[in-house]
Symmetry: C2
Subunit: 206 residues, 2 copies
Amino acid sequence: MAHMKETLISVATDLFYEKGYFATSISRIAQGCGIQKASIYHHFAGKEELLFGIMETTMAELLKELDKNLKAAVGVEQRMRAAVRSHVAFHLRRQKETFIASSELRGLSESNLARIVALRDQYEAVFQNLIAAGMEGGLFEPGDIKILSYAILTLCTAGATWYKPNGRLSIAAIVEIYENFILNGLRKGQLTGNRPAALACDPWPI
Amino acid sequence: MAHMKETLISVATDLFYEKGYFATSISRIAQGCGIQKASIYHHFAGKEELLFGIMETTMAELLKELDKNLKAAVGVEQRMRAAVRSHVAFHLRRQKETFIASSELRGLSESNLARIVALRDQYEAVFQNLIAAGMEGGLFEPGDIKILSYAILTLCTAGATWYKPNGRLSIAAIVEIYENFILNGLRKGQLTGNRPAALACDPWPI
DNA sequence: GCCAACCTAACGACCGGTCGGTTGTTTAGC
DNA sequence: GCTAAACAACCGACCGGTCGTTAGGTTGGC
């Protein structure tokens, strides 16, 4: 807590996570730091710059950690497992920041939004390439790559909404559950055995 | 659009979905309905009652549809598939309402929040009982029931964040992808074959 | 003397909500 | 069948309060 700028980011992260961006006032952030709200404008140009700073830092580190973890993995399955582990662990470890980064996009102006979305697209592309490689190699069941990538990524983003840091399960335990669930969900094989010939109920009943 | 009360709910749903609850003002809702904001208070006690009404209706119908779809299914696998189909289809078909119901809980007072959470718990319990039955019957891999249920449910909740009604894939197509992904993820079996003896990278690298 | 870090005070805009009053329709009493 | 009370639906004006932001001044360490 040496410098006020770091304290501001820390307090803003806590409040944005707890109350939401629009429900958090500048004066409430200042109060949490023990300063007046006008003093915030010495460190940041405005409220949105605080939000954008949190998001950009988080997305950059998310990407960096994925790259680092993928360098240690060889082969499609190992790489996919490493990617999922990296993704889940980061989202649980940095719960507040990742939750903000995925739920407060509406607080950004058009240009700032574009920069965050670009980072997100870059991150998603890594997973989509891995899924495509797994399908081509016969490891994964052929299917819609975009939808499956969204499923995998949002699964863990959502994990950041219910995870309790001192809860029943450790991060490592949750990582393993998710890793196996996702890899089994993708794997080629057994799905045709027990399926009904036709859907028992129409997905559009009304 | 016969009655103003329905119009109000419809306009509020659109705005809450697009801008968020706290970023939507009463006067903006009134403007969307072509009336003055004071007139809203003839139909609703306040802003929160609008939000709560949307949420409660949505959760009640979500539960009702699940019950209906489960009545037609026999056996654990068929029932689990029916539950997933019901869940996914409802979340895509009623995208705006389900998104609001899962992302704007912070806009509710304590008592209203408790009522929505109670409905949510009731809904989750159905899935947790199905997972438990599948594990006991040897169909699903034994594992943590709560975590798996959160994974399945939030998967589709998140689906409501990226789904585009006139996009590339139909609701029925997405339902089938999710259904197979989830059922394969749960199924007992093949996971031990290709796993590394130890994790290639620590889930807590820092 | 300078400049970062902070302050007090104030700005205009907007917030959710309330007020008394005005319509047009429905209902009740004779 | 007529009238009068009751009613739902809506309005313009306004409330106290808070919002994000800015202007200008004070302080203390290099």
